[in-house]
Amino acid sequence: MSKQQNKSINPVFIVTLGVVFIAIAFMLFAFPLNAQSADTGTWSQLVVAFITGITTGGLSCLAVQGGLLASSLANQIEQDYVEQAANKKQKTPVRTNSAFPIFLFLVAKLVAYTLLGALLGWLGSFLTLSPMTRAMLLIAIGIFMIGNALRMFNVHPIFRYFSVEPPKFITRYIRRTAKGTDTATPLFLGALTVFIPCGVTQAMMATALGTGSVAMGAALMFAFILGTSPVFFIVAYLTTELGSRLEKFFMRFVAVVLLILGFVTLDGGLNVLGSPLSFQNLTRSWLPSQSETAPSAESPQPSAPEGSSELILNVEDNGYFPSTLKAPADKAFTLNLVTNQTYSCARDFVIPALDYYELLPDTGTVQVNIPAQEKGSTLFFTCSMGMYTGQIVFE
């Protein structure tokens, strides 16, 4: 896109659309605050997807799919100039319509990725058979994200293989289609972006697969692509205004965020595996004060009186309290999992070492029989996404 071409984009239209996208974004944030019965775990996942989109996805996607959009725009602009030249003789001014194809492109992209998310979620429902499968998937997604971040940092040529190259016939077909000038072209090209996802999008697609739900997969991809849209829109307009150095800075920023998200996802996978090497499990033993975390005032206090064969674990929206339970060694006991209007993914309770998995009721008590364990051993527990964790120490 030349600078001359960029001048033809109507900035008022762009700003209006940007405002609309941002308004939708705010609605996404505001809605869960008012929805008392909403599953906060689900919402937090969607908000994370949206933030990922708005912070890194937009720029990363633009790097991969921007060429397509530019082709689509260039053809539209070219057509506008031809019309303008033809009308010059009649002295009739022609307004350029460059912002409209961007809008069509993004709408088609949003719809296409939402459908793709639904498909991935459906496929994932066959994979999410056990917490172990989920753990392996989380670890794979984490490695994929970290690999892509290292690729962006150009750490080693091997990391280039984390970028999936679409088959030649697809890229050729997309390129040829991009030459059209009708309204259907940007729509079609927007939809075709599903075949050339960027690294961050690929990671999000893997996450959609991990949800194992058609609705959640679709919602996740919708939130992510919605997040990418304002950035995509604005940067597409300002592309030539950004120098290569600034562009490099943005890509580094994308890589840093992707690296962090990758480690968080990998850590989640390790938690679901019950690994003592996860960041949360490692730091819990290094920082003993964390185990003293008190439950909220309205929750029943956990108790483990001498000789008692029962322990209480409060399952709350923001985790398990206390995060460290102490239990007598060589003695079986009952663990009471108490929920009280708990809606987050903390309800998806997993004890990996015992192969125990249970979706707890939002309010109530579920009892788990814990067999006798050796002195000095530790049983880790977690939610099924590896976000909230805790441990039982046997002494």
């Binding site: 991969v64 060429g67 280039r160 999936v164 030649k168 690294g199």
Partner: protein, 71 residues
């Protein structure tokens, strides 16, 4: 027809490969271009009578990349 390989060290993602392959439509005498981000190279099949290495390098430069003829 001749087939030559050019190293493109400054490709940053698979979209770059797609961008370079679009030279198929821009350059006269080109039969096929296969660019790979994984290998940071572009294999071009073209009619030698219609196109020179310098023209190819210049066209790649126009796309925003540096091309070096591989041995």
């Amino acid at each position: 027809m001749i087939k030559k390989t050019f190293k493109i060290p400054d490709m940053t993602c698979s979209a770059c490969a797609m961008k370079l392959e679009s030279l198929e439509d821009d350059l006269d005498g080109v039969k096929e271009i296969n660019a790979s981000y994984h290998r940071l190279e572009m294999v071009i099949e073209y009619e030698e009578a219609k196109l020179t290495d310098e023209q190819i390098i210049a066209a790649v430069k126009k796309k925003g990349y540096n091309a070096v003829l591989a041995n």
